[in-house]
Symmetry: C2
Subunit: 215 residues, 2 copies
Amino acid sequence: MLYTKQTEISRATFGRIPLYLSYLRTLDDETATISATTLAGKVGLGEVQVRKDLGAISGAGRPKVGYAVRELIKALEARLGSSGNTNVVVVGAGRLGRALLDYGGFKAYGLNLSAAFDIAVEQAQESACGKPILPMRDLEAYCTRHDIRIAILTVPADCAQTVCDRLLSNGVKAFWCFAPCTLSVPPEVTVKYENMALSLAYLNINTIANEGDLL
Amino acid sequence: MLYTKQTEISRATFGRIPLYLSYLRTLDDETATISATTLAGKVGLGEVQVRKDLGAISGAGRPKVGYAVRELIKALEARLGSSGNTNVVVVGAGRLGRALLDYGGFKAYGLNLSAAFDIAVEQAQESACGKPILPMRDLEAYCTRHDIRIAILTVPADCAQTVCDRLLSNGVKAFWCFAPCTLSVPPEVTVKYENMALSLAYLNINTIANEGDLL
């Protein structure tokens, strides 16, 4: 309770947590405190930025002393949720699903993409990185056993709702949905939609606009 | 010039263009006009929304007549940039790069991911969908020959800037960057950063927050 603040932090601040942590974790045990100035220099950010970020996450440093390193690490880890690793499942083990399953970047944020499921998989397989790719019939048991709260949907749009419903009945509270569809979920459940094509297309029209062509 | 407006449109409006187009393209040549009411019903959106979207894209419909179907299609296609297909290259043909290269969803937005490049590729290969994956030495010639203005970077962070510089010298004006880094580009060049891990992690903390746990 000492180390964390309940305030909302911005996505930008949140995104910088791994940067702070990766430096702070290199410090030996003898380094009890660190000033915002030093930390800012080490991670290549402005001092004002660092004070603001850490202020939102763990509270202000002590004047002339700075931040207690161990406490700061704990506060940052708690925000990331990485003290306890969060298991996430991927449903739909096509190219995108497999790419996400094996992507190494989630770990820094305390996220463990622990398994994928696919309707075309009859017997348990392994991904290129050795993660399990399981038949759909194992979905419910797996979610219960691993306390899955977050699922990534990389299934075709026409079966996304069916998959979503099965996951909802098994305690999933948040979806990252790559299928081009709108999911019907209870109000307490979060859905983040990812439309890769739209992201690129929007970049395209803005580029054309910058070039002065007729839109 | 008749069909398009120069105004900026929102990402949300832009995202609905394929929806309008996919319905309008099913109409036969005898359907010369369509009302906002009819179109709204067919695509499952509110009439106000449809009027607003089309107003921003092609101007208002004529009272009691509606929108001229052929002109509306042209205006929507012009906004998407799909009358002339935009070629895009992917640099970095790892799992994510290949998943994007072969993803079918870009086509509806007039985008053609035409080739990928990778430092590990010595001889031209084909992706699972038959698209070329080429050696890095072919990058410059390919970009020039295919008038490439947009590149997707799915390379490791430590070589992203080098790749970016090579593409900049060859006329690329926009980057969709999946590498966790900040690219240094001239002011007229657009970079959209995609941090997949951060997106999922942010969903995670918001889910925990909804559950009332300590952040």
